[in-house]
Structures are given as structure tokens and as C-alpha cells.
């Protein structure tokens, strides 16, 4: 009976499945944030509520030392947005970006606020 390795392999499998369903935009956001912030913790959540493949709504959580001393909060959000939009001329090329947390490891409490449903004013919310 070795439950731990089994659990670990199940988690690895789940992670593998999650990776395989990440679309190109999700991967691009993940790469951009990883290289900009070397995050201690990173979540890139595809919250598109039309079809997942729309990749229209994302929520990100970035925990990084790079936010040390960066105040007020809006400056951190601007850094996150700049990293994500660097390849698209500073323009967001999808409908909705929520920066649920941009914190230092010391500030990070592991809590991610749930997102409200966007609805976007245009049905699926895919208009930019």
C-alpha cells in the first residue's frame, strides 16, 4: 500500500491532461508571464464561458518577487498586462483579462476570488 505515489501519479496525469487542453493563447500567456516574472506561483485560467476554445476570457494569478516594492496595485496590474500584450502591440487580443492577484510570495494567501460571469454585453462575450 503506497497511496502517496499513486496520488502523485494521478495528479501528474491530471496536470498532463490540463496541459493538453491548453490552447495557443493560454500557452502564450503562460510563457509571457513565466519569462517576465519567474513566478513562484502562476495560474492562467481559461474562463471562456462560450466555448473554451474561444480563449476569450482569462484570469491570471501571478506570485512573484518582482512585485516587491511596486506600489500602488495598479502598477502591478499594468506590468502584468504589458507582459501579456507585448506580442500584440500593447493591445489585448481577447475579450476579458482579470488579474485576480499580483502579489509577492509573502503577501500571497492562496485565495483566488471567484470571477463574476462577464456576459460581455454581446452574448458570448467574445467581442473585444
Amino acid at each position: 500500500m503506497r497511496p502517496l505515489p499513486l496520488l502523485a501519479s494521478m495528479l501528474a496525469l491530471r496536470r498532463g491532461l490540463a496541459m493538453s487542453t491548453a490552447g495557443p493563447r493560454e500557452l502564450r500567456i503562460t510563457q509571457a508571464l513565466t519569462s517576465a516574472f519567474a513566478p513562484a506561483h502562476l495560474e492562467v485560467l481559461n474562463e471562456s464561458h462560450g466555448r473554451r476554445e474561444d480563449e476569450s476570457h482569462f484570469k491570471v494569478v501571478v506570485v512573484s518577487d518582482k512585485f516587491e516594492g511596486v506600489k500602488p496595485l495598479i502598477k502591478r496590474h499594468r506590468l502584468v498586462t504589458a507582459a501579456i500584450t507585448a506580442d500584440t502591440g500593447g493591445q489585448l487580443d481577447f475579450h476579458s483579462l482579470s488579474v485576480a492577484a499580483a502579489k509577492t510570495p509573502a503577501e500571497w494567501d492562496g485565495v483566488v476570488a471567484p470571477s463574476p460571469k462577464c456576459a460581455g454585453g454581446d452574448g458570448r462575450g467574445t467581442k473585444r
Binding site: 496595485l73 495598479i74 483579462l97 476570488a113 463574476p116 462577464c118 456576459a119 460581455g120 454585453g121
Partner: protein, 138 residues
């Protein structure tokens, strides 16, 4: 005679239309954005707490805008809103104005504060209430 009169009318009409037509490309390029900018400016300057959102206070058309309204209501703020869905130029121009890619957008005392994520975090920290109280008292 009659033909002549019509010709004169047409000429007069052309004289009037031609300069307008010549001006039109410039007007189309500049004016709507400038007009939107001017509208945004006066919204932001005339209202101490100004929220650009999708929908209205009563019927928000987006969960993030709804959250922004709920936060301001919870604070008891006296705030004005602008529905960007009703004006496509404002909808686009507000993102340029603030250099911020998403809506809702909150302005307090003429200054851009942030979107709903920032509003929520500032509210939870008690900072938004303080900022709005200070603005209301000024």
C-alpha cells in the same frame, strides 16, 4: 430659363457639397475620437466618483461591471456611470484614455483608479472607502 435655374441650383448645391466632401475624410478620422475624449474628460471632471461600465447601475450587462457597482453601493458612494455599450466611440476611446484594456474603469477625483479586480482588492483593504471619502470631502 428653367433649365438654367436648375443648373444654377445644382452648381450652388455642388459648391456647398464639394467643400464638405473634401473635409469629410479629416472629420471622420479625427472627430469621433476627439468628441469621445471630450465626453470622457467632462464625465471624469464633473463627477468625483465616475464608473465606466457595461450596462447601467440597475441593469449591469457584465459580471465585472456588476461587481464594480455592488462595491460602490456597499461603500455608499455617490457615483455616476456611463454605459459604454451605448457609445462605441467611448467604448474604444476609454481604453486609450486610461491606457487600460478592460471595462469597468473607475475614476475618483479625476484620477484613474483601476478595474474591478483593483476595486475589489482596495475595498477589502479598506482603501477604496477612504479614497472616496477623501474625494467627497474635498
Amino acid at each position: 430659363m428653367r433649365v438654367l435655374r436648375v443648373a444654377a441650383l445644382v452648381a450652388a448645391a455642388n459648391a456647398f457639397v464639394a467643400p464638405l466632401a473634401a473635409r469629410r475624410p479629416v472629420a471622420v478620422r479625427g472627430a469621433p475620437e476627439d468628441a469621445a475624449d471630450a465626453k470622457i474628460d467632462s464625465f471624469v471632471k464633473d463627477n468625483k466618483v465616475m464608473l465606466f461600465m457595461k450596462g447601467t447601475k440597475i441593469f449591469p450587462q457584465c459580471g465585472f461591471s456588476n461587481m464594480a457597482v455592488q462595491i460602490l453601493n456597499a461603500i455608499g458612494a455617490d457615483f455616476e456611470t456611463c454605459d459604454v455599450l451605448s457609445d462605441d466611440f467611448i467604448r474604444q476611446q476609454i481604453k486609450v484614455y486610461s491606457d487600460w484594456p478592460t471595462i469597468p474603469q473607475l475614476y475618483v477625483d479625476g484620477e484613474f483608479v483601476g478595474g474591478s479586480d483593483i476595486m475589489l482588492e482596495m475595498y477589502q483593504a479598506g482603501e477604496l472607502q477612504e479614497m472616496i471619502e477623501v474625494a467627497a470631502a474635498s
